[in-house]
Symmetry: C2
Subunit: 246 residues, 2 copies
DNA sequence: ACAAAAGTGTTCCAGGTACACCCATGA
DNA sequence: TCATGGGTGTACCTGGAACACTTTTGT
């Protein structure tokens, strides 16, 4: 990675990217009944941002996005969907970028590409929290999960991007399959219900939810879980695919 | 417009736009029970394309899109929505752009901006066919409506963009208000139903449709239409807004 | 009077909600 | 055996689909 960083300091290497265009990924995970978002902290600063990246000149937009996902989480072949392109004229954050570059010994002048306006294409990913190894990238020292309700102040309009992403999920994720990527292998019906409630932002009725999920045909019931609690122990469930009938 | 064209031939003026980024608008109208799309023909060529434009360096993306809409149709304050950003690495159409520039006496070299890859943000608009005065822009001689089923071959991936736009409409347009922009002031229930069927791509049941529309509260019934046909003449309807209760 | 299309009323069914009840479990 | 929470059965409600019937109009 040290070598990659050297490349970033060399102006020539910026040329391999499309100028003025970026990708930001809202990577959503779920753990202990809380939605989590993967957030980067720029090295040696108190600046937080969404994981993002640039697009190489001969690279598909979607490919660049899945590369970001792969590099930050180690995951591939995951639900990843473009949801909106952010292009307000004032969405640059010059001060923040200067700090980032200064703290990383990157030489720049006032016309540096990173200081100018960016248009950014937003992607959402739903990933299994447990399967992710958050990996910081160039210019960032940390890459960690934050609870949705305790996300720090982010640079630019990244907070808006998150909110738009969640709105998009609410409207577009197939209810029948919501959780297929977000949950660990096995889970209880209550886990699944809490997840749906968190993303949809509303309480659901227990029994109706149960029936709807089972009727969808995507869930398979496994053995019971031993909870040690003073009540009936819940069944465990797992998502099954069409090729997985048994 | 002659003066504007001169500007385009002057390389310096390209610099006022964000490089590598464009906007394409799918402008949808409705006339005689057919969906229409506004298509441009490049001057002195047989090349057809969606109306599009570039984004000025200090201009909002959405603003640039509504500017395109305004310039090609004369309309403003119209339903206009960003639906997808197209960024395949091979979506340029070098040959077509060379023909366009040659036919317009624009000097270029192999590195010209227009010959390189573009990422394009797609917008859809629903407009009243009758209220539109299609106006060709720079480098294009014609700007005309085409029936959805007789659109000529378009440059780049513009045909895909149209198909994506229609898909987007199907999933996102509020059924209750579909037609509020597309239809002329007054219309029959059958007109409205045909429009819905065209956009949704499926037959609807006459009576159920009628009731649903009336129940929505957005329609007001006016006097009867004299058709001259050998059957009961239909009522005319009009969309009403919340501020328009009478 | 008849045909054709518009408008209205009625029935039926599916999916969703609400609620009652049973089951399992550890204190 | 009781409290707690998971799982299931049933009654009810609403919105849509299907269909019958009435109304209007020109031939």
């Amino acid at each position: 990675m040290g070598q990659e960083k050297e490349e970033y300091k060399n102006k020539a290497n910026w040329d391999k990217f499309l100028p003025g265009l970026a990708i930001d990924c809202v990577i959503v995970g779920y753990h202990e009944r809380e939605l989590k978002i993967l957030i980067m902290e720029y090295e040696n600063t108190d600046l937080y941002a969404l994981p993002g990246g640039f697009i190489e000149k001969d690279e598909d937009l979607d490919k660049a996005a899945s590369k970001v996902l792969k590099e930050r989480t180690g995951l591939k072949d995951i639900y990843l969907s473009q949801f909106h392109t952010f292009g307000r004229h004032d969405r640059s954050d010059t001060d923040a970028m200067k700090i980032v570059m200064e703290n990383n010994d990157i030489k720049y002048d006032e016309n540096h590409w990173l200081l100018r306006r960016f248009v950014s294409v937003g992607y959402v990913a739903l990933v299994d929290y447990k399967a992710v190894a958050p990996t910081p990238g160039i210019m960032s020292s940390k890459c960690t999960w934050f609870d949705l309700d305790s996300i720090p102040t982010l640079i630019q309009d990244h907070r808006e991007i998150i909110d738009e992403a969640l709105l998009y999920l609410r409207n577009h994720v197939d209810n029948k399959l919501l959780g297929a990527n977000l949950l660990v292998d096995t889970f209880t019906m209550k886990d699944l219900q809490k997840l749906h409630e968190t993303i949809l932002g509303e309480k659901l009725h227990r029994t109706g939810f149960h029936r709807k999920m089972m009727d969808s045909g995507h869930l398979k019931r496994l053995g019971k879980k031993k909870t040690g609690k003073a009540h009936r122990s819940p069944y465990l469930y797992r998502f099954v695919t069409e090729n997985d009938m048994d």
